[in-house]
Symmetry: C2
Subunit: 365 residues, 2 copies
């Protein structure tokens, strides 16, 4: 269904350009500007999104005609992938273009790091689609367990996956969690997002998700597009989302990226940002509540301190006095706290910690 | 069962040290040296292993007593983890030690990067166990699909996972694939190890593993301990193992690490090296067979060239004329080839490529 929508949008774009040519007008399409100056924090929605500044891409423009042609080549390829019902990556797409267009597409000027990424983003924004909707898989990372089932149609197959029966491994979150895939029987009280796979495995071994009736996710560090998207989808189903990270620059970055989105993905923020997310810990404030943690802090790095200072200036952070206090505590003490420290007294302490925080609704905004 | 063996070995170590003390002798244990000079390439087995040089660790030695004590503290903790039937990581272990021993364990002198790793390796070697047998999980990475089932006992749970029913995701390979886990109904012709997750997803979407009746694994780059171990186990069950990587320094490194092991893991080579593995591609020789690939090579980096030169000197590589030719072709042409290039003519070309190579037994040693 979503696939059909993408096919139609690509065909509309093609027809529009043919029309332009037949009317002897300069073929062009418009997209929203993705420059930093057009990225705004939207107080109403609570995430970083593109502003309204538009940009035109046109063929009869010396500085644009090559990229214009490449964008059309990409559109044609994606159209075919959708028709074939086959997926690839932007790297696979690069080789298809190199194969068809010959040697004038050199890697140095058209690699995923350099030129093709912005062209694909142009298409995503111009068509209001994600690259996943164009059958382009992004890197995947992240694992899930809990009371939900997945109906996954892929290739010529259809499988039903029970996320309570994935053992020590969990269900590996794919790149595309929208097309030909459904989440059914989602029966959980909340979603817990755990930064580190190690802590996810700890909680999974304790069957924490079953005991508390939750969905347990780890992004395995910074969240991939697919993991951000599934968190958003579960939030849209009405589940509260609690994020559990280290109390350091990297952990905070992971949290705020899940919550308000990021500059890089501002163009699809509505799909991947979860403004309702709350921060559950670990916090510098925990040091007051749990005495033993005071011996388990470690030295903050220069980067931690620099980032903490920067975060004090972010408009979406500085409005929260709890966060200002957290950041200032780290800056003053020059110490940080890892979520693994909760394993200090006993391996299952982390279970009680989460339970307690949820029971007392001790969340940071 | 394996757990019980680990418990017994730890208790034996403890008893031996108590005996030493009671006999008023210096408590000590011995381990094999893991210095580079004691790492040998064993022609008979086909992998890098430790030589016979031993090292003693003793308490009454000023330079060793602190580390000796720490090793015992680690042993005691692991003994408890095994008794509790709970797992953690070396980071969780670090915090347990920091919690019990107090402030004299500072992160700077006892972090996973620095001091605790060699101490755990000491234990692994001294007891002939892997850290996974001591309930210490290592980082996990890697995904599998194909005709096999997994019986996974974890926590208080037991699940059966059918690796033909994992959809687009596949089964995420855990850290420990030995204890409380079984592989049953393994009915496959061979194991295909695909460097990049993107290509694994391509083949998975095509149901390649079902059509060819194989086990399809991606290490997602360099193989984790768990992924190396499962490849080895499948090889021990009699399945041929074919490895499919880029034709560049990183791809070769991934292959040779799977096949002959690595210096870092030489101390557990017998568990993680798969000398029977064969290299299926992509190769510089493919350029002769598949004309279109000639336009799809990319520039080799300085690192690629440097590593290719180094590999020509490795005793386990230079004996194979096919490899010498491969390496010399790259050095001469200064070009390399990615496995993604096989997607150039059409997305499903990679299926035919693999099928063809297997049919004609076109493997490199």
């Amino acid at each position: 269904m979503a696939d059909q929508k993408a096919v139609e949008k690509l065909e509309e774009l093609g027809k529009k350009l043919v029309d332009d040519i037949e009317r002897e007008s300069n073929p062009r399409f418009s997209t929203l500007s993705r420059t930093k100056s057009n990225i705004v924090y939207d107080k109403k929605t609570g995430y970083l999104r593109l502003g309204s500044a538009k940009e035109e891409r046109s063929f009869l423009n010396v500085s644009q005609s090559k990229r214009f042609m490449q964008t059309l080549a990409i559109s044609a390829k994606c159209h075919r992938f959708l028709k074939e019902n086959l997926h690839t990556t932007i790297r696979g797409l690069f080789y298809q273009l190199k194969y068809s267009l010959g040697e004038d597409i050199e890697e140095s000027i058209f690699s995923e790091q350099a030129e093709s990424n912005p062209l694909i983003e142009d298409l995503e924004v111009a068509l209001s689609l994600k690259r996943e909707d164009l059958n382009l898989n992004a890197n995947r990372k992240g694992v899930l367990a809990g009371n939900m089932k997945i109906i996954d149609r892929y290739g010529n197959d259809r499988v039903e996956i029970d996320c309570t029966k994935m053992g020590r491994s969990g269900w590996a979150i794919p790149s595309d969690v929208d097309n030909d895939i459904e989440f059914v029987d989602v029966k959980a009280k909340y979603v817990l997002v755990v930064e580190k796979d190690a802590l996810w495995q700890r909680l999974n071994e304790d069957n924490f998700w079953r005991k508390e009736n939750i969905i347990l996710i780890t992004p395995q560090g910074q969240a991939s597009r697919g993991t951000r998207r599934i968190i958003k989808k579960l939030s849209d189903m009405g589940l509260p989302v609690y994020v559990f990270t280290d109390s350091d620059a990297w952990g905070w970055y992971i949290y705020w990226t899940i919550k308000t989105g990021s500059i890089n993905l501002a163009y699809i923020a509505n799909d991947v940002a979860t403004p309702n997310a709350r921060f559950i810990g670990v916090t510098m404030a925990d040091l007051k509540k749990y005495d033993f943690l005071q011996n388990l802090t470690i030295k903050a790095t220069e980067l931690d301190l620099k980032r903490a200072q920067e975060m004090l200036n972010y408009e979406w952070i500085k409005v929260h006095k709890e966060w200002v206090e957290e950041l200032q505590t780290m800056l003053k003490s020059k110490r940080k706290l890892e979520q693994d420290a909760l394993e200090g007294p006993r391996l299952t302490f982390v279970d009680d910690y989460i339970r307690d925080k949820v029971k007392n609704e001790e969340f940071m905004p």
